[in-house]
Symmetry: C2
Subunit: 437 residues, 2 copies
């Protein structure tokens, strides 16, 4: 195959005219789709429909006899801690079920550390001259927004096929005591689908850190969100940290936001007994009791891990074909490796795509003009700044099959056109072609 980069000016111009024509045809359809966020589709939400009637009249007792309608039980229900322990990889006694948002639990751990210091800190983090967090990139924009909000300097590190570049990470944390934390989405990473290898996890657990109060913010958001029949498991970070003599290092978070209902779900935090004790003491000042009725509701829907996996299988059957539809459109238009490279994730909610340098923002702009709202280019980088302007995040789940087939076509054409525009500029093809206004 001749790649775009190998074309002469005449050929490039011909290709460009053709793709421009296809793009304009697509644009003329006047569709209007929003793919900015990784949202479950209505048919996925319908899988948890029963929650709308649960726990049911008279069902307000936890397995330990507690009345979940009243104050009490700040660790969450024993049975909910048991269920969620499967997502966080900790025994129930080291699992806390609290609130509806794992992001909020990360936030609260962070602000408590800023204002008070964590259990290994010499000073509250906000009283240190400077603090920094390692950010594997591309990563999750909400992690980065929160970090930026509190003036924590973000240090991007490369995310390789098996996880963060550990040579880079080990060197940074060993030398720089201002590095207090690191964001990790260890499985089916947002947005790259990366699965951290056992070796990476072991190195993260055992590396020497200059800061005694360094923490891994281990966001296991996609623990059970498989896109293949194989339920991939990764090494247990809490066990690895414990074995390496750093029992307080890892903070593991998960939620049912993409299991049942975003916002209407339950969230969990697992860590060492010390960390948990410290955290409980702090959140006990913030609020008196979690919503335990919603935990009961979830237990009625998902009484055990088997029920959880069955529900996730049903999710997979809905969303996997949507990922395939995106791959099919990309296979049609983007197989030229000088135009695009994208991931075929085994789980999670996103496809990650790289264009040549300087094409991502333009591709998003072209897609927007053609009626497809994508995640803003750069969103997966600290400060929204992709230095290469080459990364795109695609969220296939929310749209219907028919819509995603159309949208993926539009995205593929927008990318193809952006790249060919760039190639023309590089080759100084300055005569005009009807471009979209």
């Amino acid at each position: 195959m001749t790649t775009l980069q190998q074309l002469n000016n005449f050929e490039l111009d011909k290709v460009h005219r053709k793709i421009n024509e296809e793009y304009n045809k697509f644009k003329a359809m006047g569709i209007q789709f929003n793919m900015a966020r990784g949202k479950p589709a209505p048919e996925q939400l319908a899988l948890a429909e029963q929650l709308l009637n649960l726990p049911g009249s008279g069902n307000y007792m936890a397995s330990d006899g507690a009345d979940c309608r009243n104050y009490g039980g700040e660790r969450g229900l024993p049975e909910a801690r048991e269920l969620m322990s499967a997502l966080v990889g900790a025994p129930p006694e080291n699992t806390l079920v609290e609130g509806n948002s794992s992001l909020a639990l990360m936030h609260d751990y962070l602000v408590f550390s800023l204002l008070r210091g964590n259990s290994d800190s010499l000073l509250p983090w906000s009283q240190e001259e400077k603090i920094r967090f390692l950010c594997p990139v591309p990563g999750y924009d909400y992690h980065f927004n929160m970090t930026e909000e509190y003036g924590i300097e973000m240090c991007p590190v490369s995310l390789d096929a098996d996880g963060p570049d550990m040579d880079q990470v080990e060197e940074l944390v060993a030398e720089d005591s201002s590095i207090k934390g690191m964001w990790c989405v260890p499985k089916y990473s947002n947005p790259t689908g990366t699965i951290y290898s056992d070796s990476v996890i072991k190195r993260l657990a055992s590396m020497t850190t200059a800061a005694p109060d360094f923490r891994l913010f281990w966001d296991n958001a996609y623990a059970v969100h498989h896109l293949t029949e194989k339920r991939i498991t990764i090494a247990n970070i809490l066990d690895a940290c414990e074995s390496a003599g750093h029992p307080n290092r890892a903070l593991v978070f998960a939620s049912t936001s993409k299991v049942t209902f975003p916002g209407g779900g339950i969230a969990a935090f697992a860590s060492s007994t010390d960390n948990l004790q410290w955290f409980l003491e702090k959140i006990g000042k913030r609020s008196i009791v979690p919503d335990r009725i919603n935990q009961l509701r979830h237990m009625a829907l998902l009484p055990d891990e088997q029920a959880l996996h069955a529900l996730m299988d049903a999710h997979r059957q809905i969303i996997d074909p949507k990922f395939e539809a995106v791959h099919a459109a990309f296979d049609r238009w983007l197989t030229d490796p000088t135009v695009a490279n994208w991931t075929r994730p085994k789980g999670g909610y996103f496809i990650s795509l790289h264009t040549p340098k300087g094409c991502a923002r333009r591709a998003v702009e072209l897609a927007e003009k053609a009626g497809v709202t994508m995640t803003p280019a750069g969103a997966a980088f600290p400060y929204g700044n992709d230095p290469e302007d080459s990364h795109l995040r695609i969220a296939p789940t929310f749209l219907s099959m028919e819509e995603i087939e159309q949208a993926a076509e539009g995205i593929a054409l927008s990318i193809r056109l952006a790249v060919s525009e760039k190639a023309r500029t590089k080759n100084n093809l300055c005569y005009p072609i009807t471009t979209p206004e």
Copy 2:
């Protein structure tokens, strides 16, 4: 009536023996009741039983057509904001419905202010050399615990019959720019039942504060929690602040914790457009979306203000007789004004009682020994320190009628005994009497 203070040693001794005998009889019954917290009773929780089946299959749409099962709508449902606006006294557009805990909303406003400063701050509060909060006493222990947690110095001010001592308050805030906030439970105050007068509210709204970013944390926890048929209303603090040219001063909080289920309810925050915008921008970094299904659930149970008041009437009919049972026991044993003075609140969850100096801790200890766990003495004061050791908080709601009648008797006897012990010490009656071990 001869008061305890007027008795001679012989008479005092005789009274003491009698009360000691009554107390020991009570103690011998071997009861075991916990009255430490203001918890609703199971029959109150049953009033919201329907919530366990709501919103019901197929009901997931908000009035604006939003799918509440998915991401979106960070301000809360329009209809929930309308309902809660009745509790916070703001138009729906200035009311935010978010989470299950008003305490958590206060906490989050506080930590955002500490880490970033509020919309009128020159510096983040945590970067100021010292900051202080005014604390009307007796007050709510969770307010004080949170303030202490973040190293904010607490400045007690007297709570009079019509609200905080405004001469004291005005002088302090005018002079001291380190005073950044003030805790207020303006109606049926925890634990005194105080109702702030129009004049106090006007002075709070219009007073000159040295700190430009001073805030009233206006915890309207008992907005609709009446104990009489009269639904007492107080002046609107948001309007008063707006009129006085301090639109950002008041932060109003409320929740349904004692309307439906503690933990399983919904919470609201109302303030100026500026404050709300600032707060939304911050909480948007903490979590993505509130639990809107639980808001739908509440709207199905409480479609309008009338339904809310009907529910609160049903609560009143359950708890008012329990307050009366406490008054009856206290009337039997404590009418001597040199022994105790207590409140007869028109709403809220507590009775507040003052003993002579130095008797409160002993009364709680005696009650505990007789099987009745009370709120720890001093809990209603900053740092748990009641300088007079004279204040007790009584929480009549949780126990059944039969239990509260017994418990109130035990508390009355414990108080009576503690006071008479103290009087004997003062009078140097050193010969022993069989005292409880």
